[in-house]
């Protein structure tokens, strides 16, 4: 059974704007799925429809076999949502926010407190349970929304930019947390603008642009499509003149840094052979761009050019 099945989903907002123009997405049970796209692509709109916050104009949505039109309660019971914008009561204590959410799902108060404790502890917020939510920092507020989304143990967790504005240490611990949750069987859909995050966490990916899916595949297959990778090399000694290497072209960034593209038929070994031949010492190297980022930019750009024609 698929965790999520979306067919020909369309959304026209009241002002006439067409945010989704026939979207198909399939997410398998147990998957860690990335839904990527530039600002305004329609990610939050799609997530809003799946979680009943936005009315669809047409199309089909199925979550773990429950049809959104015929069995909305079945759909809702399966989903935990971490929305993009803060949407909790700023004048309510943190503990109560989580417990009340559990209550809305029908979990009795005693059991709700037990679960709230577990999920607040996991996200390092239990000590603050009596504080008003408005006193939390931005990163803590995001974690509060994750704790709230997990309290009814959803089969499908949807995270709309959960790591936006979260510092690197906490972001790392959130990655570990999400991976662990996924290992234990929770299907996860993640949207993010940090593409290295999607690359390292997700197994499948869909890219949406201007209301249309432009890519829907396995992450490894997609990354395989990348023909060239660009590296930045830090040199031991400054170069006065750029040597001509066989098969590679160096580009000077400044005195001690050069950039070089390696295509999929070449190897980094070959590059270093050439560099040694010319007695160029390299102290370190890094990818100029994250691989997914490069693909993403290519795709969005070609879609834009396509639209312009």
């Amino acid at each position: 059974m698929n965790a999520l099945n979306i067919r020909d989903l369309r959304k026209v907002y009241k002002n006439g704007f067409e945010a989704l123009k026939g979207v198909d997405i399939t997410v398998q049970q147990g998957d860690f799925f990335a839904l990527l796209g530039p600002n305004g692509a329609g990610k939050s709109t799609a997530i809003g429809i799946i979680s009943s916050l936005v009315n669809k104009t047409s199309g089909h949505v199925e979550v773990f076999g429950h049809d959104l039109d015929n069995d909305p309660e079945g759909v809702k019971s399966c989903i935990g949502l971490v929305p993009q914008e803060f949407n909790f009561n700023m004048w309510e204590p943190i503990g109560e926010i989580v417990v009340n959410q559990a209550g809305f799902y029908g979990i009795p108060r005693k059991e709700a407190w037990r679960r709230a404790e577990a999920s607040l502890r996991q996200l390092d917020l239990w000590d603050k349970r009596q504080q008003m939510s408005r006193t939390l920092s931005g990163g803590m507020k995001r974690r509060l929304m994750i704790a709230r989304a997990l309290v009814h143990r959803p089969k499908l967790l949807i995270l709309d930019e959960p790591t936006a504005g979260v510092d690197i240490e906490i972001r790392r611990s959130m990655w570990e947390f999400m991976s662990e949750l996924n290992r234990q069987g929770t299907t996860i859909i993640l949207t993010t603008h940090y593409l290295e995050e999607a690359e390292s966490l997700c197994r499948n990916i869909a890219i949406i642009n201007q209301g249309r899916i432009v890519e829907h595949s396995r992450m490894d297959r997609l990354l395989h499509q990348l023909h060239t990778e660009t590296f930045v090399l830090n040199l031991r000694d400054p170069l006065n003149e750029l040597p001509s290497l066989q098969g590679f072209e160096l580009k000077r960034l400044d005195g001690q840094r050069v950039e070089v593209a390696v295509n999929s038929e070449q190897s980094i070994n070959q590059l270093f052979e050439q560099l040694s031949l010319h007695e160029i010492g390299v102290t370190s190297l890094r990818n100029k761009q994250n691989r997914l980022e490069q693909l993403f930019m290519n795709m969005v750009e070609s879609a834009r050019n396509g639209a312009a024609q």
Binding site: S52, L53, P83, N87, F104, Y105
Partner: protein
């Protein structure tokens, strides 16, 4: 966990949340109507009332007691639901409910129960104060309580509908200021409509609050300008209509969904 026990838990959660909300800020929610009512008793009841003489066979202060209590119930049940539901829209935490597997009628019932609870608490507080200023003998506890609760339900529903349509904090004060307050003052709280010219008596009959005030006065004092059956029928009719309309708004997601 059966479906209905799930719904019951959800209802209790909404209701408890509402209860906590207004009892936490009792200085703003319970106390003000008590103070207002005391002022009415002092000014209209004692100072001016003693010069007015009798109305429908009662001293003026006794005559206005039922209306004043009901006025407090109306304002408070209304404003509880309108401000609570509007702020849940404004701060977006209404989304917590929309994404949950709770049917709309449970959501509505939860908010209305919250409004009724505040109406009843304020009503009890105001009634207790009334006992200091008057010595009324309750004629029928059954009637009194029925009207009390029905009125609170009706105005909680009205507050809910107002909140659904409201887009700003101004919008939630327009209805109370321009509709609710005039209707209440013209609803026979301070006078018997038999004092009015024939034409204005007829006009007054279009005011739903008139029926509630009179039904309540009947429960407390045993007199009314309106036959009891008619009064009760009209109140119930309004409740049914507003419930239907509220559920329609929720099902369509008007004011809360894109």
């Amino acid at each position: 966990m059966t479906r209905y026990s799930r719904y019951l838990t959800a209802f209790q959660t909404i209701f408890t949340k509402e209860l906590l909300r207004f009892t936490r800020i009792w200085l703003q929610t319970i106390l003000p109507p008590v103070i207002t009512t005391v002022l009415y008793y002092i000014i209209f009841g004692n100072l001016i009332g003693s010069r007015i003489g009798e109305m429908d066979g009662f001293s003026y202060i006794d005559f206005i007691v039922p209306g004043l209590i009901l006025m407090a119930v109306i304002t408070n049940s209304y404003s509880n639901v309108v401000s609570s539901f509007f702020s849940s829209k404004f701060q977006r935490h209404v989304e917590e409910l929309i994404i949950s597997p709770v049917p709309n009628w449970v959501i509505l019932a939860g908010y209305v129960a919250g409004g009724v609870a505040r109406g009843v608490m304020v009503g009890i507080a105001v009634t207790s104060v009334s006992l200091f200023f008057t010595d009324i003998q309750v004629q029928s506890y059954g009637w009194t309580l029925t009207v009390f609760i029905l009125t609170a339900i009706l105005f909680s529903l009205a507050g809910f509908i107002n909140a659904v349509y409201a887009n700003s904090f101004d919008d939630i004060s327009i209805v109370p200021t321009f509709i609710l307050t005039p209707l209440t003052y013209l609803g026979g709280v301070f006078y018997s409509i038999s004092m009015l010219p024939e034409f204005w008596q007829q006009v007054s009959l279009a005011n739903p609050i008139l029926y509630m005030v009179n039904a309540f006065r009947y429960g407390l004092l045993g007199v009314s300008d309106i036959p009891m059956g008619v009064a009760l029928g009209i109140v119930v009719l309004f409740i049914v209509a507003l419930t239907g309309f509220s559920l329609y708004l929720l099902n369509r997601g008007i004011g809360i969904k894109n």
